[in-house]
């Protein structure tokens, strides 16, 4: 499903952060605690989500824990899309 946020987020994160030759990411790969996405780079991920889904994620909700896997990020997007 091309429109599934999980697939869109996975595609973005893979293109944006994955080094050449690294193992492919899954929806549950730890991104931040696994060292794939650093704290500086989280910012552009947040901006991507906000622009793509026309949402605003408050700073205090954009925690490393909330951004740690594609599944968690998709949950976050869902929560703010509904709100």
């Amino acid at each position: 499903m091309a429109d599934d946020p999980k697939d869109i987020i996975l595609k973005y994160v893979t293109a944006e952060y994955l080094e050449e030759g690294a193992d492919p990411l899954t929806h549950d790969t730890p991104l931040i605690s696994g060292g794939i996405v650093d704290s500086f780079s989280m910012v552009s991920l947040k901006r991507f989500l906000e622009n793509k889904y026309k949402i605003s994620i408050p700073e205090d909700q954009a925690t490393p824990e909330a951004f740690d896997t594609v599944n968690k990020i998709a949950d976050l997007v869902k929560r703010f899309t509904k709100a």
Partner: protein, 415 residues
């Protein structure tokens, strides 16, 4: 709070953990001045051993040059040992201003401010010139001191893939709504020895209304036809908004750093950069030595030319011997071993053969990118390089990696 047994044990446990993970750093004692030939005590308590140094940042071989030492003696005699002050109280001598003027002239910028080190320059510059309304877009392989400076600043951080101009352009487009954009890169990347594509970066910064900061610590004095730096190599002299650099490598190798660039940005550092405001001035003896270095570099390109020849000779020798190298044309030549333990064992075996070159592995470089980083100097003569090549070849043969591909080395030793 007392330093209790429990607290002590906690720290001992942490340090033991570093040892067990192979991340514990130990200093090797050098009993001679910095040079191509040094006398080393390693391991601690061992008899001194004369070895060839292949891992110093002494690119121009000026760290122990007699003319620099003589100038430093003269500075000590005429301006004293220390100033016991920060710059803006009573720590600025005529020679500090003279060094700022000479650095500006050498780098081809508008103005310069000295810092105790380039680490301090990088720690202070971002906070001094940016606010929370701005964005800092850095190459993902910039030096740790830039990362620390970015962390200390309230502006938004972002990154682009190493030397990937298309990705940088995407980021510049994404951040058009910020008040200011500052793109951040090393000129020469210290672990890989490759250079930033400054001509393309300047063009992108012009197109998307961004400023450009370049850390030239591994470039000032020898990259470019007259050694001005990476901006000279790429034909963009005068177009870099902020250059940070060090006097602790090619330019005498003692201490000190600077921010050099647009005069308003330099003045912002003079007013607001905390490592400048709250740390001592550079000692007069150091300033006098650096001024002599600039005299020498303005008079002749002989030393950077020799360094360039040495680097080409060394790179070709290693290639012919069958090592896997990182591509590049700077005096930083990484010999790729991929496996951390192999890098450590290789370094130790080189030492036994009379060559001092250390291994680098995760977290200093990425996983499975372990290497011996070799660095050339104008202080090396061909006989040094021939002897070091002989040692590398002997050790390479011992570990049976000569002529082997990356994959073959990984298959044998692991990632």
């Amino acid at each position: 709070m007392a330093y209790t047994d429990k607290t002590r044990e906690m720290y001992q446990g942490t340090l033991q953990g570093l040892k067990e993970a192979g991340l514990f750093k130990q200093e090797r004692l050098i009993h001679s001045p910095q040079a191509a030939d040094i006398e080393v005590e390693f391991p601690a308590g061992s008899p001194l051993r004369k070895v060839i140094n292949m891992c110093a940042n002494n690119y121009l071989g000026l760290s122990s040059h007699p003319d620099v030492i003589q100038a430093a003696h003269e500075g000590l005699r005429t301006r004293g040992y220390g100033m016991s002050s920060v710059r803006f109280i009573c720590g600025t001598q005529d020679i500090h201003k003279e060094l700022e003027r000479r650095t500006t002239e050498f780098l081809g910028t508008e103005d310069t401010i000295l810092f105790p080190s380039c680490m301090d320059a990088n720690a202070g510059v971002f906070e001094a010139v940016l606010t929370k309304d701005d964005v800092m877009i850095s190459d993902r392989l910039v030096h740790a001191s830039l990362i620390d400076g970015i962390r200390l600043c309230g502006a938004m951080p972002d990154t682009f893939k190493h030397s990937d101009m298309a990705h940088l352009e995407q980021k510049l487009q994404m951040h058009q709504d910020r008040r200011l954009r500052l793109v951040i890169t090393d000129g020469v990347f210290s672990m890989d020895g490759d250079t930033a594509k400054l001509d393309e970066m300047v063009a992108l910064c012009d197109k998307y209304d961004a400023m450009l900061l370049v850390d030239e610590s591994h470039a000032s004095g020898f990259i470019g036809r007259t050694g001005r730096g990476t901006h000279e190599k790429y034909g963009v002299l005068g177009k870099i908004d902020i250059i940070t650099s060090t006097f602790g490598k090619a330019l005498g190798g003692a201490t000190g750093g600077c921010v050099s660039g647009r005069k308003e940005l330099v003045e912002m550092c003079r007013q607001k950069a905390r490592p400048y405001l709250f740390s001592n001035t550079i000692a007069p003896v150091i300033v006098a030595g650096i001024l002599k270095v600039f005299d020498m570099l303005m008079a002749s390109t002989e030393r950077r030319d020799k360094l360039e020849r040495n680097a080409a000779y060394w790179r070709k020798g290693l290639q012919d011997a069958g090592f896997v190298l990182k591509e590049g044309d700077t005096p930083i030549v990484p010999v790729m071993l991929f496996n951390a333990k192999l890098a450590q064992d290789f370094s130790r075996a080189l030492y036994d053969e009379g060559v001092y070159a250390v291994g680098f592995f995760f977290p200093v470089v990425a996983q499975s990118q372990a290497r011996i980083r070799t660095q050339l100097s104008a202080g090396h003569e061909i006989h040094h390089l021939d002897k070091a090549l002989e040692a590398f070849t002997k050790v390479g043969r011992k570990f049976d990696i000569l002529g082997k591909t990356r994959q073959e080395i990984i298959d044998r030793f692991g990632m």
